[in-house]
Symmetry: C2
Subunit: 599 residues, 2 copies
Amino acid sequence: MRCLARLSSKALLVLCLLLALLSLLLWSRCSQNSPIPPDFPAERRGNAAEEEEASPRDAPKSPGIPGSASKGALKYEEIDCVINEEHTVKGRREGSEVFLPFSWVEKYFQVYGRIAQSDGNERFEFSHSYSKVYAQRAPYRPDGVFMSFEGYNVEVRDRVKCISGVEGVPVSTQWGPQGYFYPIQIAQYGLSHYSKNLTERPPHVQVYETAGDGNGDGNGNGNGNGNGNGDWTVPKGCSLTTVWDKSRLSGVKQFSCPESSEGVSLELNNARDFIVSFDLKFQGNGSISVVLESSERNQLFTVHYVSDTQLIALRQRHIFYGIGARSDWSTVTRDLLTDLRKGVGLSNTKAVKQTKILPKRLLRLVAKGRGFLDNVTVSATAHGAAFFAASRWLLRNQDERGGWPIAVARKLGDGFKSLEPGWYSAMAQGQAMSTLVRAYLLTKEPAFLGAALRATAPFKLPPERGGVRAAFMERHEWYEEYPTSPSSFVLNGFMYALIGLYDLKETAGERLGREARLLYERGMASLKAMLPLFDTGSGSVYDLRHFTLGTAPNLARWDYHTTHINQLQLLASVDDAPLFKEFVKRWKSYLRGGRAKHN
Amino acid sequence: MRCLARLSSKALLVLCLLLALLSLLLWSRCSQNSPIPPDFPAERRGNAAEEEEASPRDAPKSPGIPGSASKGALKYEEIDCVINEEHTVKGRREGSEVFLPFSWVEKYFQVYGRIAQSDGNERFEFSHSYSKVYAQRAPYRPDGVFMSFEGYNVEVRDRVKCISGVEGVPVSTQWGPQGYFYPIQIAQYGLSHYSKNLTERPPHVQVYETAGDGNGDGNGNGNGNGNGNGDWTVPKGCSLTTVWDKSRLSGVKQFSCPESSEGVSLELNNARDFIVSFDLKFQGNGSISVVLESSERNQLFTVHYVSDTQLIALRQRHIFYGIGARSDWSTVTRDLLTDLRKGVGLSNTKAVKQTKILPKRLLRLVAKGRGFLDNVTVSATAHGAAFFAASRWLLRNQDERGGWPIAVARKLGDGFKSLEPGWYSAMAQGQAMSTLVRAYLLTKEPAFLGAALRATAPFKLPPERGGVRAAFMERHEWYEEYPTSPSSFVLNGFMYALIGLYDLKETAGERLGREARLLYERGMASLKAMLPLFDTGSGSVYDLRHFTLGTAPNLARWDYHTTHINQLQLLASVDDAPLFKEFVKRWKSYLRGGRAKHN
């Protein structure tokens, strides 16, 4: 105060003026001089009075905000917003406009939003749903991309325990932590790699060892480089020789190395790609390991592929996959990215633990025991290998009834009886058909087509006889993803089954494909008749359990809703019923907040 | 500036401090120092990965607002809100919280809100729907209040052209401006007055003339006052005498007055109630008129009840209703409030013109021509008269097939064939049953019960044979409000039909009511089976046209949704199936923004 008191009048005057200016500034900022247009038309109801009399209050009025917008500067203030007479949230008010906090809007309406950068400015991005629909490549073909599966990454999912070393296909923990082969997942693994193979560019392939056969022969792809003679280290007590293999008509590397030794090792030093592939034949026990540098503080991890049948194990920084005896020649193709992450994330629960760890560099490949190696490569992708691993798994594991029995019990929900292990799924059958048909079209091996044809058998039997054929109101045939009692009528599984039948009837020809065609046609007739029952006017339902159990509808979350749309788009590309186009259009509009009309 | 310069340092100092304080105040107000809690939990998806793979992006994430709330004072600013990548609205932002304008929320989500006074403060009242559900008086009974119809005011609706003077029931312009008797409307008119009669206190009745019989005898109610001898003015050329009527065993007033005269007039001078009632018998032509003072600048209007059959006419301030020959004794009961407003609002369109005009005072009743009058009263309500007018209309107008044919064509919507004039409605049949059963229970006149029993006949025939019985998937019988081709399965009309059948089977007894009981039981079984098909997970559908036509669902607007709930509450009070209680609970929750779960 003293120093202030000492100030001259002039200085005080200036200070006064400055403070006055500040007040003015703050004031104008605070009250937002430009009034927000009170764009508040009261909702007009379509056809106000209907024939009979619905409403006790005879003319229900839309309340609307009274148009008492003050003409002057609009004050910005907090206002209590009472929600359905139940609770209160704090909103903001400017004149006749009220602003509701998005934190409330989000939860109340189940919508999405975030502040995002755009051209250097921040803006708020509101979205009604989180899913996007893909654009159908018209028209769909049995040898083409499967729906939008080129965007699927089955092996990355936390419900995939790992890729089996013995089978080369994913092991699921979807319905139980023990891990089992789930035919739907395996078919989708195949179809996604098939589709990626069609949509991605051919991968870069680095060839490390062909045992003197030169560049990129044998099973390798031709666009890599490398001289075909690897940079090997052979420690004392181990041997490595190039020998001629009569069955392969090619030179191969023969190794012999006690398990206790360091093993013979092939320098890889590849920081670019992480898929290792090699042809292998063990003589007795052995292992092939890959030493890699990880993104986790450059720690070294070793992934061991061992001649046993254990699924997966982790000990310190060593990850083990059993790859079976391999006493005959076969190709092993492993994605080190997946193998590392599934090993590090190994858990006893249904879900693989989250990890951010990545391989940074493949250092070397190490062989122990006794056996032969050939065609060691590292590449960015190996979609063909994954696709055929899935296709051949399906071939090997189809049972005598044409089905792929599912090994775990499944209870779809309250009110349904449990499906006991060994049940078939129309979706598994259909997705297997789509996979097998593609394998047949690529290879012309009759076994693939034969398996696909046999896969129709469960479509001809009702659930109580081990089949997948239900009927809606004893009239519309439906192929059940879950052949439950009572029927569940899951939509997306049914459409996958139809797509499989389509693939098969298109591929098998008039005579062989007759059964599939009939099943497809009957199923499509059911779909066209029943599709409206899945339309809620603002989304879709996942199944018809509300009808069969008398419960609440089981609304499809947005990713299932978009799957429905994607499937309908696919079907619309091969069937010109206007219904499909109309549903696709309307169901797409729901993703943006559209709604069917009310009366 | 001069005056400022002259101020002492001290004064300047004080000014400085004041301004500083003001700045501080504004600053704190402006920036809302207390940060809004960023209550923004990212939506957790129930069971993230399902068995089969729905989504191309494998782990769809809820975007959520990044938790970068600044710790300091929150700035208030405008922010562009981009809606579904389609358009932009101006929101407000405070730190990490974004506020969306209700003018947008309202239209986008079809919700309601308004600023309202509460305890002297203004607050914003948000409501998900505009309708309220009534509380069921448990349990429902055939002689009790009909649902929530005590709140209905059928005659007020702008689609009611007027109350017919000849028939005493509403004339509808619902589906055409010409006006016609619509049995549903007539039954609802009866049921609403029946229900009001049970829930309202008995009305005040003023007795003006009983021709010497004393207070409140005859048809009149007993709780009014008046000496039973009216204050009459008899102009020259007219006569008015009290005579004995043998058929009535009562004294009556005989009048004789040329049409060209002023008529004999009875002083009413009643500013309290506006329902006039009198017993009347014309000898030849005649008219009874009521002169009233209106709320419209005290203008006088005269409502004439004339011995002809014209429906309604308006000439200057004279309104005419034909009441038929009335050559035998009958009671005329007219609501002057309705008669005035329907006359003033008379139009050639489907809707009666809006008017705010009201009667203020009934001045006098005027009789012309030759005839007899008795029991002239004015009362607040005359629900019994309205109820019996409806009941007796139904009795007179039932055809030889047990139905009340509807005289206008009706096209329910695109895709449906038109219903040609003469169609029956299960809703009309049901509502008529509910009315007739009540009339029977009050009067014990067998004719009412007989008519109700005959009304079941159309329930036994399919639409192509003139009936109302449809079947869902050839299995579930359904009574069609609109017996369309294809079937429409309108829910509320079906439930009204069931309520009518319930009233009938409860009233008619084991033997007579057998048919009604069977129809009721079959219908209830269908309702229980099919109700889930009407549940959208956030509301209900009006009908199943989406299934029968393959179109979008026809969502029920909120007043129909609440009618569905009201009807289900009624049925739940007489049938203890848990389904009804569950649906009532869930469907009520939809009114407050509740939703069925998604998978």
